[in-house]
Each structure stands twice: as structure tokens, then as C-alpha cells.
Symmetry: C2
């Protein structure tokens, strides 16, 4: 059975909420309560989970730790993931020093740049290599995911090279839309694009405009 992409996109939110519940010591949660925490209908949550199996107990709800474990396994978070960063400017350094990746099993194991000021320097115990060594490095020590933090003009070429080097997932911080072959995953991190989707609703001066229709998945 083929699972809607939008369902996969919600699973990490479920996992995040379940982690918070687990940390509070909650052992059981109903689709009702989980839905309230996430602004998602209980029916949606039950339907989503039903794509993957039966995780709940009727009359009781879901075991928090158990469901969290199941979702993590579904998402492939029961292993470590290796990433290569390209672009070690201000943004790239912020990404390198972000402590949120490792606890979820994501590790930046290579960093590349073209700037002679940066190549050879060490950040967070990683020596920056020149981008020209990208293919060679990834051939010897492959990664699962490429993280792109270069200027938008350079991003397409970097992504092409990552893909040719076998990378099948790209986390793209550059403000542009890359072209990639089918089967290569791309996700965009672009705060300005998100801001621009909010100003539309703000501009109605104190107007009472709401988000219409289905919540388009930058859910909250």
C-alpha cells in the first residue's frame, strides 16, 4: 500500500508531541488528547496510524512510549544518519553548531566550502574541505543526506554534484527551487518564504482573515 506523503509529513509531529508527553511522565494518550496538542482532529490521527498497523487499545488509547517507538521505526529513526554540509558561511556554521540534530540521530560528518578563508579551518571538530573534493570524499565515506547552505546561484550545481555522488536526500537552506531527478527527496528551509505566507493574512489591517481550507502542512 502506498502511503500519502502528507501522512508521512505528520508522523514527525506525532513523534515530537509524544516525546513531550513521555518527558512529562504520561504513559497513555488518546487520539483526542494528542490531537488537541497538535491541532489535528482525532480521526485524522487514527486514520494516519491505521496505515501502518494497530497501535492502540480500545477504551484506553495509545501507550506513549510504544507508539513513539513504532513511529520512530516507521520513519527510520532507529538508526543513525550521516550528512554532508556544503557551505560553511555564517549560516553553515550555525547549522554545524546546532545541537538539535544529534539527539535525533543526524550527524554532519563532512563540511565543504570554496572560500580559501574557510577551507582547512576547523568548526565543531570538523575540518572544512574544498568542494572539489566532494565526490572523492563521499565515495570513501558516503552520507545519506546533503545539507546545502550556499548562495542560491551556487545551489543547483552543488545539489547536482551531491546527487551524482549518490545522495538521495537534500535539506536545502538556499532560497531557490532546485531541479532533482525523481526519487531524490528535497526539503526547503526558507524563513522568508514562510514569512511571506503570513503577511498575506496580516495585510488585511486588523482584518479578520483566517487561513482557509485544509491546513497546508506548515501546520504550526
Amino acid at each position: 500500500m502506498e502511503i500519502p506523503g502528507v501522512v508521512i509529513a505528520r508522523l514527525p509531529l506525532y513523534a515530537q508531541a509524544l516525546e513531550a508527553l513521555a518527558q512529562k511522565g504520561e504513559e497513555v494518550v488518546s487520539s483526542q488528547r494528542l490531537g488537541e496538542a497538535l491541532g489535528i482532529t482525532p480521526a485524522q490521527i487514527r486514520k494516519d496510524l491505521s496505515y501502518f498497523g494497530r497501535f492502540g487499545k480500545q477504551g484506553r488509547g495509545y501507550n506513549v512510549a510504544g507508539l513513539l517507538g513504532s513511529i520512530r521505526q516507521i520513519l527510520g529513526l532507529d538508526r543513525q544518519w550521516r550528512m554532508a554540509l556544503v557551505g560553511v558561511g555564517r549560516l553553515g556554521r550555525a547549522i554545524l553548531s546546532y545541537e538539535g540534530f544529534a539527539p535525533q540521530g543526524f550527524h554532519i560528518v563532512h563540511a565543504f566550502d570554496v572560500d580559501p578563508e574557510v577551507v582547512g579551518r576547523k568548526f565543531e571538530s570538523l575540518v572544512v574541505r574544498h568542494v572539489r573534493e566532494l565526490e572523492e570524499t563521499l565515495a570513501q565515506e558516503p552520507v545519506d543526506i546533503g545539507v546545502v547552505a550556499v548562495p542560491p546561484e551556487a545551489a543547483q550545481e552543488v545539489i547536482d554534484r551531491l546527487v551524482r555522488a549518490g545522495v538521495r536526500a537534500i535539506l536545502n537552506y538556499a532560497p531557490m527551487t532546485p531541479r532533482v531527478p525523481p526519487g531524490v527527496q528535497v526539503r526547503r528551509i526558507d524563513p522568508v518564504v514562510l514569512l511571506e505566507t503570513m503577511t498575506y493574512y496580516l495585510k488585511g489591517q486588523e482584518g479578520v482573515r483566517f487561513l482557509q481550507g485544509r491546513d497546508p502542512l506548515f501546520l504550526r
Copy 2:
């Protein structure tokens, strides 16, 4: 007429692509070509634009500069937007030094934190105030958008205070889902959540799994 949220979410992508075309000196673009640049069908683009008016010339296409201007106006980007940052740790400082906001009309005009090490210090010519001064500061110099870069445990309270202070849009960098009253816009920036939506497709070991169904809007 009420416009689907998903349509609003695509407009910034159209604007971004049009800016790139304008910079290349292109004067006219068809829905076909624009769609190819964005991985969106031409019909989708024409339908989206038709919600707001008739911007094209039959037989020719769209004037790049003209359409860009129209979209910017629709999104409310024909003015400046004031933002307040809460949380001036590593992430907050990276946000403060990000040069991508100003060119699109977004300006951080206040920065708040609770850490005595940080309060009173100056970053990018902004003096960090204590969060206890948030309400007073925003009463005197209001902002349109709140940017939240505090630890997840603190985020809900910060967002509550921003909303009570009149902020109706939140850009949330904290890895949690806040509850906000209806009419308040929230957008999430969470690289880990996006990574986790990719690992699902990666884990099928060289498997040929593709994203199914409608592209869930973290489009590329």
C-alpha cells in the same frame, strides 16, 4: 472569494522564481516555463493566479516584472514588516545576522532574552532587552511578527505573551507545536522534522520509493 491556503503558500515560490528570471533579464514567461522551474504544473499556476486576476497575455505569457509586482502586492510585500525576536542564544544570533530578511522588507526591531549574560549586550546594533520588558516595549513600538528562538519548554509561554501583546504572526524555530487563538498565524522552522520526513523514503535501502500523492507543500 476565499482563497485556499495552499495557493497562498505557493505565491512566495512564484515570486522567488520570478525574481531569478528578472535577474537573468527575462521579460516574459509562460506558465509552462515557470512550472518547469518550480516543479509545478502549468495548469496549477494559471489556476492559482486566476484567483487574483488576469495577469497574462494570451499567446505570449506573463510579464515577469509585472507579475512579480502583482504577487508582491497580493502578499503584502509592498511594505515593510517589523519583527521581534525572542531568544538570543546561538540560534537567535544566527537569525539576527541573517541578511535575507531585510531585502524582502522584514526587519527585526527588538530582541529579548532572559539570560543575564545576554541582556544588555548588543548584536547587530540591537540591544537585547529582558523578556520582562516585552509587553511594555511592544506597547510603545509594536511589531507585526514574533520570531521565537527559545528552548521548547519556554516557547508556549513566550508565544502566549507575544499574542497577548497583539502579535498576530509567529515564526517558530522551537521544536514544538504551540497553541494559539484562531486568527494568529504560526509557521514552523524545524529542520529535524523535515529530515525525519525524508528518512522514511530513504530507509527502503536503495529501495525505489517515491513521494506519493499530492506534493505536501514543503515542495522542494
